[in-house]
Structures are given as C-alpha cells and as structure tokens.
C-alpha cells in the first residue's frame, strides 16, 4: 500500500538538505529503555546541530544522571537551523569564526553547576558553551559524517545516537558497522530491507528499538520547509510538526523488548498456509497468524521485526534474496513480473505475487 506518507518520505530521498528534527519527548520515550548502556561511555551525536538538537539537549541535561564520560556533537555545512537558539559569536570557542554558518563540534566532559543556582541543567550547559573555549571548536571540513574529522570523532566514541539523513542511511549504518560502534538511531522502517541494510537485521547485528508512542513519529521542520508540499495529514501548521507512521529506531543495544516471546495460537493447515512455488516456505503474512505447530520456514511481513525475539525465531532471509526466478518455474504471462518475490499458485493456473517477506523459523521446533 503506497500511502500518502510513504510517498512523502520518498519525495525527500536524495535530498540530503532535507531535515527532520526529533523532539525531546520522543527521545526520552525511547532512551529510557537504554539508560544503563550509557554509563561511562562516550556518546556521539553527529549529523546534529549541537545546541539546536534535542539529542544534544537530552544528553547534556542527563550527562550526570547517565554517568556519561563524554558527549560529542557536530554540526555540518548549510544546516538551516544553525544558530537559532544561541548566537554562536557569543560562544567562547567560536568568537573568532569567520563565518557563522561554518560547522563546528562540541565536546563536553563534565557539566558542573556553573551558574551556581544549585541545579545542574541546560542553563549550565549554555554557560559552558559561552565561557569554556575548549568545548566548542570549528571544524575544518563540512561536518559530513564521512569526513576524516568526523571519522576521528567516531573512533573516539562508544555509542552514536542521532537522526541521520534518511537519504544517506545505508552509508551511515555501513560506517557504524565498519567501525563496530553501538548506536540508537532514528530510521525509516521502509529501509529495513534495503540491500546494504538487510544483512545486519538478518544476522542479528541490528534490530528495531521500542518505537514511537502509538507508532506516530513527529518531527519539527525548519521554517524554511513550511511551504513545502507535504502529503495531506503529514504537516500540521498549528504545531509545526510533521507526522510519519513508518519511522522507528534502529539499534544494536540490548533492550527488554527483544526478549519477549510472541504467544502463538494458530494451527497449521496446508490450505490456510500455502507453500510458495519459488521457495520452500509457507505464506503466513501477518505476525499474529504465525502457526504455533509448524516447524519449517515461514514467510511473514517485515513488521515481524517489531516483535522478534532471537531466542524464539531464527531469521533465515528475505524474499529479495531467497526467491527463485519465476521464469524458471512458470511460463511467461502467468505471473506479474518484478524483482525477486515469492509467488503462490492460484486455481486458474496463474501465480500471485506476494509482498516482500521475511523468512523465519521457530527455534527448537514448534510448540
């Protein structure tokens, strides 16, 4: 189903300038499940504009509570919201910067009570940025996550937490994997089965986080984008927020949700669960329909990943990589063509092309 929303997402693919900013509420809602992971760690929020980003804000506010060792954040060239909240020329590190839009980085190793009001909060962080020249420094390059400066910061860090540009997601995740980093990032669920990304899900090197409240991901957009054409229902001019339904968190940090079993209740019958003609697995479709008494391989929609417990199910693969070409099986004209997908035989001699499917198998046999 190509919804208006997924269209809105694809519209901005390939437009790296297109920015969507996460809200502190949503960051808190997800990261409360990860708190123990951050103790004594170096957290890197790249692809963010340090003071304007709610990711930076979250970690700066909770620096002591989480027991962070260090917080690093970088901005990048032409970010449309740089300098919105504090005047960069006012900060000690950037006072002599030739160009206010030049990208910079923030590095924080402690947040003391600088304004002496008895509380350690964002006001102290602001104070720190204003007065401590060591915290904020200009970058030489663009701030692009692929630049050598950024890679150097990445090497120094333990966990990356950010909302990376969706159009560069594959590359972004590839880099994290290559450098063997932990991460919690906002990403489109549509990208789960992208060729460069899927293998990480399949091999259990990455999984879905808990997800947005009620599945609704809201983002702030820069004022400049308010005139853009969004699909109906996406942009709310009253709140200035856009809403998407197919966004979640990708992570490789362990969370409780990953250890919850699905209770299965359906019984297998060959009629209800036909076998694909071009791969030896049964068609299940939605997660709730997974039969409790079937030992073999089963095809489910990728929403399964939201409830995957690796102790309960093994992921075998994905239709894009497993389906045998239909031209080897059926005569031309009996099936709808397209990329590799699974097909089911129909009574009239034609074949039904299925949606993308993840192939799974119960671990330790059927219950």
């Amino acid at each position: 189903m190509a919804t208006a929303r997924s269209k809105a997402l694809s519209e901005r693919a390939g437009d790296p300038k297109d920015e969507y900013y996460s809200r502190i509420e949503d960051i808190e809602y997800e990261l409360r499940h990860y708190k123990p992971h951050f103790k004594d760690k170096v957290v890197f929020c790249n692809c963010d504009d340090p003071y304007e980003s709610d990711f930076f804000k979250y970690f700066a506010m909770n620096f002591n509570a989480l027991g962070l060792k260090k917080l690093i954040a970088t901005s990048y060239t032409r970010s449309p919201i740089v300098g919105n909240q504090i005047d960069l020329f006012e900060t000690a590190g950037l006072r002599d910067a030739p160009d206010p839009k030049q990208p910079y980085k923030v590095e924080i190793t402690e947040v003391p009570d600088l304004n002496d009001d008895g509380a350690i909060d964002l006001l102290d962080v602001e104070q720190l940025l204003r007065h401590d020249a060591n915290t904020m420094t200009m970058l030489e390059g663009t701030g692009d996550f692929r630049s050598s400066e950024s890679v150097e910061l990445l090497n120094e860090s333990d966990i990356v937490v950010t909302n990376p540009p969706f159009s560069l997601l594959s590359e972004f995740i590839g880099q994290l994997m290559e450098h063997d980093k932990k991460f919690v990032i906002v990403a489109s669920k549509l990208s789960v089965t992208y060729k460069p990304i899927w293998p990480f899900f399949q091999s259990g090197r990455m999984w879905l986080g808990n997800g947005f409240k009620n599945g609704n991901a809201y983002f702030r957009v820069p004022d400049a984008y308010r005139d853009r054409k969004f699909a109906s229902g996406v942009f709310d001019p009253k709140t200035g927020l856009v809403k998407f339904r197919n966004i979640s968190w990708f992570t490789n940090l362990d969370i409780a949700k990953r250890h919850e079993n699905l209770t299965l209740f359906k019984r297998y019958t060959p009629e209800q669960y036909p076998t694909y003609v071009n791969y030896p697995a049964i068609e299940v479709g939605t997660v709730s329909q997974i039969p409790r008494d079937y030992d073999g391989e089963m095809g489910v929609s990728s929403t399964f990943l939201d409830s995957h417990n690796p102790d309960q199910f093994e992921i075998i693969g994905y239709s894009g990589g497993l389906a045998q070409p239909m031209k080897d099986i059926a005569p031309d004209g009996t099936y709808t063509k397209g990329g590799p997908r699974f097909y089911l035989a129909q009574s009239d001699g034609t074949y039904k092309r299925m949606f993308d499917r993840v192939i799974i198998k119960q671990i330790g046999g059927a219950s």
């Binding site: 502190i24 509420e25 808190e28 809602y29 409360r32 708190k35 804000k57 506010m61 909770n62 002591n64 509570a65 009001d117 008895g118 509380a119 350690i120 909060d121 964002l122 006001l123 409240k213 009620n214 409780a256 949700k257 250890h259 919850e260 209770t263 299965l264 209740f265 359906k266 019984r267 709730s288 329909q289």
Partner: protein
C-alpha cells in the same frame, strides 16, 4: 473491611521503583505492585503526565490513591496507577518537564526543588478485608473516575501468577486471544472482555468462584487451552465464516456438542438455507439452532395483527382444536374466546416448511397452545 488513611511521601513511593514490562511495575521498596504485567495500559498523554509533576511542584493536592493490602503484607495499587507511574518515571529521570520555562529532568533540579518533590505527601487509603468485602467496596468507589468493568474489579481482587499469565494472553489488543478470537468474540481485550468471556465459558458463568479457586495456580494454561479448543472446534465445525458468528456463547455449545461428529458440509448447506429463510429473524440464532435444534434461537416470524384477526374471524372466535380443545368445559369446541386470550399458531409448522402467511394461521386458546407439545 478496614480502611486507613496514610500520608506517604513520594520519597517512599519511588524507593526501588522498577519497571519491567514482563514482570510488572513496582515501587515503595518493592512492596507496592503499581502495575501488574499486562494491566490495562492507557497511554497517558504527555500533557496529563506533565500536569501531575506540575501539581506536585506547586504543592497542590493530588486526588487520593487507593492501595489494597495483600495477605502477605504487600500492596496492590487499585486507583492512581497513571499518576503513580508518572511521578516514579519523573524521579527516575525518564522524562523532563518545563519548569519556569526551563526544561528540567529530575537530575536537573536544585536540591531544594528535589527535596520538595520527594517530601510531597500522597494521600493513600489502605484497604484490608476479605475478597468479597474488597469487591463490594471496589464496586462502591468505582462510581468516580475511570470506571472499571466487572472483570477489572475481579482482577483487582484475585491477583497472582495465574492472573498475570491469563492477562498476557487475554488482555492485550493484538494479543493471542484476540488474534484467535476476534472474529468470534465481541468487546475489547484491554477492557478485559475477552478474559471475562473465556472465564464465563469455562466456569459455567461462575467467574468469581473460578478465579478464587485458581488464583494461586502458577499459570492459566488450563483456561488458555480450553479457550483454544473452543475456538478451534468452531473453526472446524463451521467452514464458512459469517459475521453472525461474532458474539455467540460458543463455550457452552462446545461443552455440549464438541465431541459429536459433525458433517460440516451438510451443516454449511443448512446454515446457508436458514440465512436465506425470511421466517428466521435471528440469523445469529442459526448457529445454536443447528446444534441444539431448539427453534427459540431463531425468533421465527410471528403472525401479524391482520392474520390473527382473519383466523379469529374464520374460526368464529372458537379454538382451532375444536373438540380436542384443552380448556376445561369446552369438550364440544363451541366455547368462544376473546382475541387477546388466544395465540396464533402455524397450521403446518415451520419445521415442516410451513410459512407465516395468513392461510397458514390458526388461533388456539392459551391452554391448547401451551400443551401443543402433547398433541
């Protein structure tokens, strides 16, 4: 029933607060069961959650909380779950709020602010009594606020591992019982309607007794297996699904007919015919009817006023049974009756193909109609 009022500072409530979706949410040094696993989980709106924190900082009173004292001295939170979770989450640093225009998590408070928050006292009523006393009392206090369903009230009394397991299956939207039964059951899992239905079936309507008996079981496998058997039997018996199958009391039917061999094809044909039969007014009743053969399930069409009056006039106000009339003293069949003292009857019964048309209508005296089965 003993009900005591206590003032408990937040400091004590949040002691050893832990939130594990699978094991439930606890506080008050681990003694207070804030949310048993799979308890109805309203998603509290951020605004409501923030308002709780705001109320505390302003020092305004929060509504009272109700705790149930368990036999082992631990507590079960009966009323005030969302508010309790909100303040525990805030103290745990799970979210931040705007205070005087400044966004602050618990860790960003001044010592004074933090102490003020921790010292704030909640007004908590502890209630202690037998199960039935508690239930009575819950029903009374249930008048205010978010109303609990009957099953929710029972759940508040009969807590334990059995209930926890039962809820994990029956009380989640999109959960197992819902997935298996949403075509056959009405109501919402989250409001405990599925659990209620399953219990009603397995206990023959004596839900409270069943819950009391099984409260301390280690799991609810018996209930789950029974529920599965019922619905699997329904699926097997009735090969074609129709929306009329939703909301039928399948449990009792399974109990009585679940072991009988069924000719599913013949059953399907018969149901199809009955669905098309104008005489059958309760289409839902077709399912119990084809098993029980009791016509009362079908609410068969009744003769209208004109048909009744027509037959009455034809019979000259006499009972259609004539000399066989059962009314004492009417052995000659010549006694006349008032229309309102007579019942309309099918001359050829519906089961033999008779229709509810004027020509198939006869009027019987009440005595005859009542003893029709004897004729």
């Amino acid at each position: 029933m003993k009900i005591d009022r206590h003032q408990i500072p937040i400091r004590d409530i949040i002691e050893n607060y832990r939130d594990h979706a699978e094991e439930g949410v606890f506080g008050y040094g681990g003694q207070l069961n804030i949310r048993p696993p799979y308890q109805r989980e309203f998603v509290y709106k951020d605004k409501q959650r923030d308002a709780v924190i705001d109320t505390i900082f302003k020092g305004f009173p929060l509504n009272v909380f109700y705790w149930v004292v368990n036999e082992d001295g631990t507590y079960e939170l009966l009323d005030g779950q969302q508010r309790t979770v909100s303040l525990c989450q805030y103290a745990a640093g799970d979210f931040s709020v705007l205070l005087n225009g400044n966004r602050k998590g618990f860790d960003n408070l001044t010592t004074d602010e933090r102490e003020k928050f921790l010292d704030y006292e909640l007004m908590v009523y502890f209630c202690q009594g037998t199960d039935s006393e508690k239930l009575d009392w819950f029903r009374i206090i249930n008048i205010a606020g978010e109303k609990l369903t009957d099953q929710e009230l029972l759940n508040a009394v009969y807590t334990g591992p059995w209930l926890t397991h039962a809820k994990s299956i029956f009380s989640k939207t999109g959960g197992a019982a819902y997935g298996l039964g949403d075509k056959y059951l009405t109501g919402a899992p989250i409001r405990q309607h599925y659990l209620e239905t399953a219990l009603k079936w397995i206990s023959d309507g004596k839900i409270e007794h069943y819950m009391a008996t099984h409260q301390h079981d280690q799991n609810a496998n018996k209930l789950w297996t029974y529920f599965r058997n019922v619905l699997n039997w329904v699926e097997d018996c009735f090969v074609g699904y129709r929306t009329e199958m939703k909301g039928i009391a399948w449990g009792p039917l399974y109990d009585q007919y679940g072991k009988d061999p069924v000719d599913t094809a013949a059953l399907e044909t018969e149901i199809n015919d009955l669905m098309a039969d104008d005489e059958v007014k309760s289409k839902k009743g077709i399912y119990p009817y084809v098993l029980t053969r009791d016509e009362k399930h079908l609410s068969l069409r009744q003769f209208d006023k004109a048909a009744r009056r027509g037959a009455f006039t034809r019979q000259k106000a006499r009972c259609a049974n004539g000399k066989k009339c059962k009314t004492p003293g009417n052995t000659h069949g010549q006694m006349t009756f008032e229309l309102s003292k007579m019942d309309a009857d099918h001359i050829v019964p519906w089961s033999n193909g008779g229709k509810t048309t004027p020509d198939n209508c006869q009027m019987l005296c009440i005595a005859c109609n009542r003893s029709k089965g004897d004729l």
